[in-house]
């Protein structure tokens, strides 16, 4: 069961899309899992043959549970044949099937066994106070969580042992989403020391260029200015990698690619920020197609696991709503969020003359553990520069 969000503890398997014996290849969607964020399609990261299904539809299992086994090419079938045949006297050596679903790493410091490193005294205090150890940063030997780390953490309302069972099942999908947002955003403000920068960007040229280009495109293929913003952020991240990745185990872990999470408001309330993978390498048209697809599937509650778990940064644009600027809350364990307000006509002084230009207020909310304001300022300025030459995006 993959972890499809920082605060997901368990998920319900609703449907298998592949049957035992069927071929699977990397990227195939093999199952559907129901989470607080709706139905999520689970992708597979191995090539081979689906060997055995270990979790039946309808079962709710904790994150990290093996859902199915995949047999690699050339490996013998698993040693549990359904046929009632006598076993050979000596069992042939059977290569171990690999777990089918890659489980994302836990955030908190873990030892070689994958268990949290928590001192006995810290564990006892956490149990007494109901503190969730998974979200804490360890300052003890080798990053272990020690008693002072627990003492400094705010207590949870629910006991830490059973975070899933502690709350009643949400009555509606909207309530479930609200709850997931509440958990992630509370954790963000609790753990992440945010700093904020703001920068006014003249987007007149970019919007004019976009309007001219859209005249040549069919209506369904027209670009929204949001794709320029996403692309500019993605390209700027190539030069400022410390904003692209995760804060894990007390240090920054750079993202494997530039996967930009784009905040999408949902019709029933709430929002979700699925990833556009490798956004820096996409053409604007491909990026637009991706965004359209994501918006449609997000609103249908039909996103894929990698889209939910892989975002290395989030971009939010409240341009439609007419606000000047947005100062966001980072989605943990990411380390940065870029926000854009409405492009609006403003008086603009340039070389001694005041004119009117269309200006967008860009903001950066960044994790001060992972980066400093100086680099943040350069990063945001770079986004502004890239938007001055839209034809190169």
């Amino acid at each position: 069961m993959p972890q499809l969000g920082a605060d997901m503890a368990a998920g319900k398997l609703t449907e298998w899309l592949k049957k035992p014996g069927e071929r699977v290849k990397r990227g195939d969607i093999v199952a559907v899992v129901e989470t607080d964020k709706g139905a999520i399609e689970v992708e597979i990261f191995e090539n081979g043959t689906l060997d055995r299904v270990l979790v039946e539809p309808g079962a709710k299992v904790p994150v990290g549970t093996v859902l199915a086994m995949v047999r690699g090419d050339g490996e013998a079938p698993s040693a549990a044949p359904p046929m009632p045949r006598p076993m050979p006297a000596v069992a042939p050596s059977v290569p171990k099937p690999r777990p089918a679903v890659a489980v994302p790493e836990r955030r908190a410091p873990a030892g070689p066994t994958g268990r949290l490193r928590v001192s006995p005294a810290a564990a006892r205090l956490a149990a007494e106070r109901g503190v969730d150890l998974a979200g804490l940063r360890g300052t003890g030997p080798d990053g272990a969580i020690r008693i002072a780390d627990v003492a400094a953490a705010p207590a949870e309302v629910a006991p830490a042992a059973e975070p899933v069972a502690a709350l009643p099942e949400p009555a509606t999908p909207a309530e479930a989403i609200r709850r997931a947002i509440a958990a992630a955003m509370s954790r963000s403000n609790r753990e992440i020391p945010h700093y904020y920068l703001s920068h006014a960007i003249d987007v007149s040229r970019a919007l004019d260029w976009l309007a001219r280009g859209n005249e040549q495109r069919p209506v369904a293929g027209r670009l929204l200015y949001g794709v320029l913003l996403v692309k500019a952020v993605a390209l700027a991240l190539r030069d400022y990698p410390e904003f692209n990745g995760f804060w894990r185990d007390g240090r920054f872990a750079p993202g494997a690619g530039i996967h930009v999470g784009t905040a999408i408001a949902l019709r029933g309330g709430g929002l979700i920020a699925p990833a556009v993978h490798d956004a820096d390498a996409m053409t604007l048209d491909a990026l637009m197609a991706s965004l359209r697809d994501l918006v449609a599937r997000a609103r249908a509650m039909r996103l894929r696991s990698s889209e939910l778990a892989d975002s290395t940064i989030t971009v939010t644009s409240l341009g439609d709503q007419g606000v000047d600027a947005v100062f966001g809350v980072i989605y943990p364990p990411q380390v940065a969020l870029v926000g854009f307000g409405t492009p609006a006509e403003r008086p603009w002084a340039d070389q001694g003359t005041v004119t009117t230009r269309r200006v967008i207020q860009a903001s950066l909310a960044a994790d001060h553990r992972a980066s400093d304001g100086h680099r943040g300022a350069l990063f945001l300025a770079r986004v502004g520069q890239l938007l001055q030459e839209p034809e190169k995006l």
Binding site: S119, P120, A121, A122, R124, T139, G140, P141, A144, R146, I147, A148, D149
Partner: protein
């Protein structure tokens, strides 16, 4: 004499004064061992005592640890209160059979009819460039054995005061004197006398980490605590004083307060005293711990002769400081 008066003395002189005091108090007490008489003792502890007490009570022995330790055990069974001096713990292995199979067992084997009130003194430890056959710390071999008590005086008060209490004990007591301590000089109360031998002592109070040690390592450990204090880490230093039976209550009480422990033992790490103390902490204070127990011990080699290698092999102050910083972690 003033109640607060002190005398300037050394560990060696304090030990000699303890022997003199015991000889004076109790006519059953006598000292025997290699070169304790005419030569004044290999470490000059008994210098002058032959002249003072005569050859019946200060007895030179042949070079046979098994023979003279055995004779001491026999004398104790016969009602005497012998003090047997063995030159080093390395040499005492020749008398292991007498100590382990006889001294430690006879009360049990005789159904309580026999007592063996012998005191066996021996030097231990390295740091004087006398190489691998004279420098080892094998206290844990004796601390393993039920039926004997094992003491490690590290201060002038304990050098002066432990012997008499040991002689009063009805069972065998072994006293380990670290070879580097003999020349240690300091002020001792003029009226210093017997001390308890069943308790560890907190030599420096602290709240952040318990440094647990004994014998010759005490001063390196106290130096480490001073260095740690400069970093804002308040280390508590426990002098075990008695290695068998261990004063578990003092250890556990301290670790419960500080939540961290570093054990400093000049013995080797494997199957040694440090392992035993670490295990006791796990058994008795596991849920109080905020970091794994750490150990600073002698490197697992026969102790080298060259000074730089000997220094590198033995526990030293900077190693203790490093271990303490590591278990304290974070911001202290």
């Amino acid at each position: 004499m003033n109640a607060g008066a002190t005398v300037r003395t050394t560990y060696r002189e304090a030990m000699r004064e303890a022997i003199r005091d015991a000889m004076t108090r109790d006519p059953r007490v006598f000292l025997m061992g290699e070169d304790v008489g005419h030569y004044g003792g290999c470490f000059a502890v008994s210098m002058g005592l032959l002249k003072e007490f005569g050859p019946d009570r200060i007895r030179d022995t042949p070079l046979s640890e098994a023979a003279f330790v055995g004779a001491g055990i026999g004398a104790a069974m016969g009602g005497m209160r012998p003090i047997v001096e063995v030159m080093t713990v390395n040499f005492s292995l020749l008398a292991l059979d007498q100590i382990v199979n006889n001294a430690a067992t006879l009360r049990h084997m005789s159904g309580g009819q026999l007592s063996v009130p012998v005191v066996i003194r021996m030097t231990t430890g390295g740091g004087k460039q006398v190489a691998a056959q004279h420098s080892h710390s094998l206290e844990c071999w004796y601390a393993h054995i039920p039926g004997i008590k094992v003491l490690a005086p590290a201060t002038l008060e304990d050098a002066r005061g432990m012997l008499w209490t040991a002689l009063e004990d009805p069972d065998p007591v072994i006293i380990f004197e670290h070879t580097l301590l003999y020349n240690m000089e300091g002020d001792l109360a003029a009226d210093a006398g017997p001390v308890a031998i069943d308790r560890a002592a907190i030599r420096r109070p602290g709240r952040d980490v318990s440094l647990i040690t004994y014998g010759g390592s005490l001063y390196k450990t106290l130096d480490a605590a001073t260095a740690l204090a400069a970093d804002g880490i308040e280390a508590e230093v426990i002098d075990l004083r008695t290695l068998r039976p261990l004063d578990e209550a003092t250890i556990l009480e301290s670790v419960t307060r500080t939540r961290r422990a570093v054990i400093v033992d000049e013995g080797w790490r494997s199957v040694g005293l440090s392992a035993e103390i670490s295990a006791r902490i796990m058994e008795g204070a596991f849920y109080e711990l905020d970091a794994p127990v750490a150990r600073v011990c002698t490197v697992e080699v026969p102790l080298p002769y060259p000074k730089h290698l000997e220094d590198a092999a033995l526990p030293q102050t900077d190693g203790i400081v490093r271990a303490a910083r590591h278990v304290v972690g974070g911001n202290g």
